[in-house]
Symmetry: C2
Subunit: 223 residues, 2 copies
C-alpha cells in the first residue's frame, strides 16, 4: 500500500508537477481513501522520499552494531548505506533529483533529511570520543565532512543522469575524509622494517629529555 | 520600516507563538499596510531572520576582496562575519534561538540559510583551487567543516543563554579546521632552533638513497 501510494504520487508529480498535484489526485490514482495517504506519509513531501526513514533506521542499527571499529571508517561505511539506496534505483533517483531541483519545498525537505543523517553520524562519533576534549566539536566537524564528501559524489552521479560507478565515486570522496580525519591521518604510510635495518637515536645537543623522547617516538613511528 | 516590521513581528512571535501570529497581526502592530510587509519579507519566516541577506552579501564581498590570502584562513574569517552578527545582539539572538528550536518551519528555514553560507564558502574555495584535482570536492568538504565548527560554537553559546566569549569559542572551533585543512596542516609546529642545537642526520643501515633524503627532510622539518 505504501509503495503503491508512493508510486502513484511520483508518477503524478512527474506528469503535472509537484505543486499542482493534490493528495486527492494521489489517492484517486492509487485507488484508496484519503486517510490511507496520511497513515503512511505526514505530507506530500514525504511521499517523494519514501525510503529515508528506513535508511536512517538502517544507519542507526549499523552504527549500534559497529563495535570497536575505527570510528571514521564506521561513519564512512554508514554513509554508504545512503548511496546504496540511491544506486539501487538509478532511474527513479535521477528523476527525483531533477524534480527536487525545481521545487523549493523539496529542497528544504532534503536539507532536513541530510541534517538528520549528519546528526546520526555525529552522535555516534561523539559517543566514541567518550568525553575527550572537544569531542562533540570534532564529531560534528567529521560528520559534516563525511556528509559533504558523500553528497558531492552522489550529486555528481545524479547530475550525470546516473552514468558511471556511483559507489567508486563515493569511495573516492570518502577516501579524502578518511585520510584527513581517520586514525592514520597525518602519519606517513607504514614501511615494514627491512632485514638489517638499524634504528638510530637522534638528539640535539643540550636538548631536554622530553625532546629526546619525542624524537625517539617520532623515529620509531616513521620507520 | 523594515526594522519596525521585524521588531513588531518578533515581539508578537514571542507573545503569541510563531504559528498563531498572522501577517495581519504584524502590520497592525507596526501600523502599516499589509503590502508593506511583503515588500520587505517574502514570508513570515524571513522576518525572523532579517539580517541573513545582508550577512550573506557581506560574506560575498569579503571573499571577493580576499585576494591571495590563504584560502582556509579566508573562509574562517568569512564565517566570523556570521558570528559577529549574532554576537552584536545577544538577547535577540538567544530568544530567536529558543523560538527556532520550537518551530519546525523555522528550523528548516535556518537549514536553507546555513546551506547558502556553505555554498558561498565552497564557491570561493573552488575558485581558489583553480581546476586542481578534486577541487570541487575538497571545497565542499572544507566549507562543510568550517560551517560545522562555527555552528557548534555558536549553538553552545546560544544554548548557554549568551554567556561567555562567543568570539573566543568560535576561534577555538575554527582552529581545529585550520589545523586540519589549512596550508600548515599535517606539519608539526615550528620550533625555533636554540643556540648550539645540532642537527643530526639519521639513516637506517642499507636504506635506499630516497629514504635517506626523506629522513633528512623530515629531520629538518621537525627541528
Amino acid at each position: 500500500m505504501r509503495d503503491v501510494l508512493a508510486e502513484a504520487a511520483f508518477a503524478l508529480f512527474l506528469e503535472r508537477g509537484f505543486e499542482r498535484t493534490t493528495v486527492d489526485d494521489i489517492v484517486s490514482r492509487a485507488g484508496v481513501g484519503r486517510r490511507s495517504f496520511f497513515r503512511y506519509f505526514p505530507s506530500k513531501e514525504d511521499a517523494v522520499f519514501p525510503d529515508h526513514e528506513r535508511c536512517l533506521a538502517d544507519m542507526t542499527a549499523f552504527l549500534e552494531a559497529a563495535g570497536d571499529a575505527e570510528p571514521v571508517d564506521a561513519v564512512c561505511d554508514a554513509a554508504r548505506i545512503v548511496l546504496r539506496m540511491y544506486a539501487a534505483n538509478p532511474e527513479f533517483s535521477v528523476q527525483r533529483y531533477r524534480l527536487t531541483r525545481e521545487v523549493p519545498g523539496l529542497r528544504t525537505y532534503e536539507l532536513s533529511v541530510v541534517r538528520r543523517y549528519e546528526r546520526t553520524l555525529a552522535g555516534y562519533l561523539e559517543r566514541r570520543c567518550d568525553g575527550a576534549r572537544d569531542g562533540a566539536l570534532r564529531a560534528e566537524v567529521i560528520a559534516a565532512s563525511v556528509v559533504a564528501a558523500h553528497n558531492n559524489a552522489l550529486r555528481s552521479w545524479l547530475r550525470s543522469g546516473g552514468e558511471g560507478d556511483a559507489e567508486a565515486a563515493v569511495d573516492h570522496a570518502l577516501g579524502i575524509v578518511r585520510e584527513t580525519w581517520g586514525s592514520g591521518a597525518g602519519r606517513p604510510p607504514a614501511v615494514p622494517a627491512a632485514d638489517g635495518e638499524v634504528i638510530v637515536m637522534v638528539a640535539a645537543k643540550g636538548a631536554p629529555m622530553w625532546r629526546v623522547v619525542q624524537q625517539i617516538e617520532s623515529a620509531l613511528g616513521e620507520r
